[in-house]
């Protein structure tokens, strides 16, 4: 399937796409397209966020939508993250399907009361009579001195909360399909995107489609070790797998696509085959998505592992601003390669 492919860079995509009639677009274009289609088709959908009508259009994902759909449906808001989240929730319970956009994940902590105490709770507290079809998009920053307060990943703030869904699409195809799935899911959904995914290319159908929430995908098959690569780390995992393959080690790469719910069935099936597991994540280690995956394996299939799990995460400290330190801070393909080797040597 062309849709399930992941391409490390533009050149690789172009090579694969040569001669094909299938359309290729970037991750950011996929988000823009999904949003634009829903705005066109459904009067209840609207976009709100700080600077969504900016000429840059939130790194291109809302670009010029205000010109097409008007400033009432593509609303630039005052600078008030918690407030606009509450406002979006109010609109959501009144029949709208807001897409709330934050330039950075780091602004989500400002909205935790609205998301955790309200959006996540109301379906439950109103006995299923009320749902909050709110979608919150937020972007992980990296590079250009993003530093401690502009580069966090933070899915675990939300995966811990019953009532929420957390999606972390890695490819253009999934970005488009999961955004649509999120808008029509009915539950409050947090979509965490990674800035470094925005220019990645992939095949994306022009028609509307959804990607099922809670279904991961095998990006590459292999028998020797399983690497779960979340969000941007799916790309690093693919690069690691290619390099390892040259040394005769065949890695299976799984992209969970959504981290709440997590497709544990898929991960467990793979680990049954390989017996070895590496988890590469965009965030910190403690109580992370990786921690959840390991715990679930212990609970559900203890015994399938032939070696201890190795996790590749950020070190236990905030992101440094200094370019030199920042480079040392982020683990990548090399860390995944040594992690895989470590599980195999055991």
């Amino acid at each position: 399937m062309p849709w399930t492919k992941i391409y490390s860079n533009k050149e690789e995509f172009e090579k694969a796409a040569a001669g094909s009639t299938l359309r290729g677009i970037t991750y950011k274009e996929a988000i823009l397209e999904a949003t634009s289609r829903m705005l066109e088709q459904d009067k209840s959908v609207f976009v709100i966020g700080e600077g969504v009508d900016d000429a840059g259009g939130v790194f291109g994902t809302t670009k010029n939508l205000h010109l097409k759909f008007g400033k009432d449906r593509v609303m630039d808001s005052p600078l008030a993250e918690n407030g606009i989240t509450g406002i979006a929730i109010g609109a959501a319970i009144s029949g709208m399907r807001p897409i709330l956009v934050h330039m950075r994940v780091d602004f989500l902590p400002l909205t935790l009361d609205q998301i955790i105490n309200h959006a996540a709770k109301w379906h439950y507290m109103f006995g299923g009579k009320l749902s909050v079809p709110l979608v919150v998009r937020a972007i992980i920053g990296r590079g250009w001195g993003s530093a401690a307060q502009h580069s966090q990943s933070l899915p675990s703030l939300f995966t811990n909360i019953p009532g929420l869904r957390v999606l972390m699409p890695a490819t253009p195809y999934d970005a488009k399909g999961l955004l649509r799935a999120a808008v029509y899911d009915g539950n409050p959904v947090i979509i965490i995107e990674h800035r470094w995914l925005y220019d990645h290319m992939g095949h994306v159908p022009e028609d509307d489609y959804t990607v099922p929430i809670g279904k991961g995908i095998v990006r590459r098959e292999g028998k020797d070790a399983t690497v779960v690569g979340i969000s941007y780390m799916a790309y690093e995992a693919m690069r690691a797998a290619e390099a390892l393959s040259k040394e005769g080690i065949e890695t299976e790469v799984i992209d969970p696509r959504t981290v709440k719910p997590l497709d544990m069935g898929l991960i467990i099936e793979s680990v049954k085959k390989t017996g070895r597991l590496v988890i590469a994540d965009t965030g910190w280690k403690e109580c992370s998505v990786g921690a959840e995956i390991v715990a679930r394996i212990m609970e559900e299939s203890c015994g399938i592992l032939k070696a201890p799990v190795v996790r590749v995460n950020l070190p236990e400290t905030p992101t440094p601003a200094s370019p030199a330190l920042e480079k040392a801070y982020y683990p990548g393909v090399d860390h995944i390669i040594s992690a895989v080797k470590k599980t195999i040597q055991k």
């Binding site: 700080e50 600077g51 009508d53 900016d54 000429a55 840059g56 630039d76 005052p78 600078l79 008030a80 993250e81 918690n82 407030g83 780091d106 602004f107 400002l110 250009w144 001195g145 530093a147 401690a148 307060q149 502009h150 280690k285 403690e286 070190p315 236990e316 400290t317 905030p318 440094p320 601003a321 200094s322 370019p323 030199a324 330190l325 920042e326 040392a328 801070y329 683990p331």
Partner: protein, 355 residues
């Protein structure tokens, strides 16, 4: 029953020196000629710092930078009115405040080059690191002011934030608390009329930001933010009031951001060149120059000397900044806690940062 008016709110606007450099002497704060010259020289230094920062950014020698061009009077006039040991909580656009307080310029350049050590404030400075999250530092100033009250110190705290920041709940919450408890705090709104691409009119439907203080039970005043004397006087009065137990004040410095939001922005995509041109004519240094000339405090030669000295200072500071040794990789984990955790000790080895 008749309907009675039970409260009326009036908002004052303070301008002391107009665009022609003419002063209303009845309002003029008691500043000596030397002090006026010092203010002028500090503005030149801040502007020189700023222009060099912008060119260093273009050359790739520092990272994204937020220009203060046009806001020098708002920043320096207010900072000058604060005593050396009054606590300051700045936003990311307050390089001018740092310059006024005598903060080492080489450290500021390091900071903007993406080195957190540039914001590890040395002993003797009562500055907090620049807040990158917008507006959320406003309550910190209230908290610091409250601590001063509890400790019996005759000091104030000042929070600097933008027009965009004034839309945040944190701003209201910080102000409201300060009003109730008469905390000695000054809220210094730098209304430069833009929050990236969002114009002031889309932040609030209120005529002024100053009037927001009324809802918290204390005075708000709008000042001409390009008139350094108005900014200085309003801040000085607010400091005196706060130190004498009179509680907080909100000062809205009405000014204009002449540059792009930061070097990563392109303001021509959302505002007209004509608008910027109007404000270029109103920029604060022109006015101060005209005023000083009338008083016989300014000559071209004087300004040339001041500028030359500022250039030299800035050159030296840049050299110092660039000669500063790169940080040690172990710094990445060194300051997360007081001591390294067992996990961090392991990670020092795993990531190969241990010497």
């Amino acid at each position: 029953m008749p309907i009675n008016i039970i409260e009326k709110i009036e908002i004052k606007y303070l301008q002391i020196v107009n665009e022609k450099g003419e002063a209303d002497s009845s309002l003029m704060p008691p500043l000596s000629n030397d002090e006026i010259k010092k203010l002028f020289e500090t503005m030149i230094l801040a502007r020189t710092f700023n222009h060099r920062a912008l060119s260093l950014q273009r050359e790739g020698r520092i990272g994204t930078y937020a220009s203060i061009w046009g806001q020098e009077a708002s920043q320096i006039g207010s900072a000058y009115a604060l005593d050396k040991d009054d606590w300051i909580f700045p936003s990311f656009r307050e390089s001018g405040v740092f310059v006024e307080k005598g903060y080492p310029l080489w450290m500021l350049y390091r900071y903007w080059a993406g080195d957190e050590r540039g914001m590890q404030i040395p002993e003797g400075f009562y500055l907090f690191p620049m807040s990158v999250p917008v507006g959320t530092h406003v309550p910190h100033a209230t908290g610091a002011a409250w601590a001063m009250r509890l400790k019996g110190h005759r000091k104030v705290a000042a929070a600097y934030f933008g027009d965009g920041g004034s839309s945040k709940g944190d701003f209201y919450e910080g102000m409201n608390f300060a009003g109730v408890f008469k905390a000695p705090v000054i809220f210094l709104c730098q209304n430069n009329q833009w929050a990236i691409s969002v114009p002031r009119a889309r932040q609030t439907a209120a005529k002024t930001i100053a009037q927001k203080a009324a809802a918290c039970g204390f005075e708000g005043i709008q000042v001409d933010g390009n008139d350094i004397f108005a900014v200085y006087k309003a801040t000085k009065d607010a400091v005196e009031k706060a130190k004498n137990g009179g509680g907080p004040t909100l000062i809205e410095c009405f000014t204009y951001r002449l540059d792009d939001h930061t070097t990563s922005d392109d303001a021509s995509r959302y505002r007209t060149e004509e608008e910027v041109e109007v404000w270029k004519k109103k920029e604060p240094l022109i006015r101060l120059r005209l005023f000083m000339e009338k008083k016989g405090l300014w000559t071209k030669q004087y300004e040339d000397e001041v500028s030359k000295k500022a250039q030299e200072t800035v050159d030296k500071e840049i050299q110092k900044a660039e000669a500063f040794a790169a940080p040690d990789p172990a710094d990445i984990v060194r300051y997360t806690y007081g001591e390294l955790t067992p996990r961090q000790k392991r990670e020092l080895k795993e990531f190969g940062w241990e010497k």
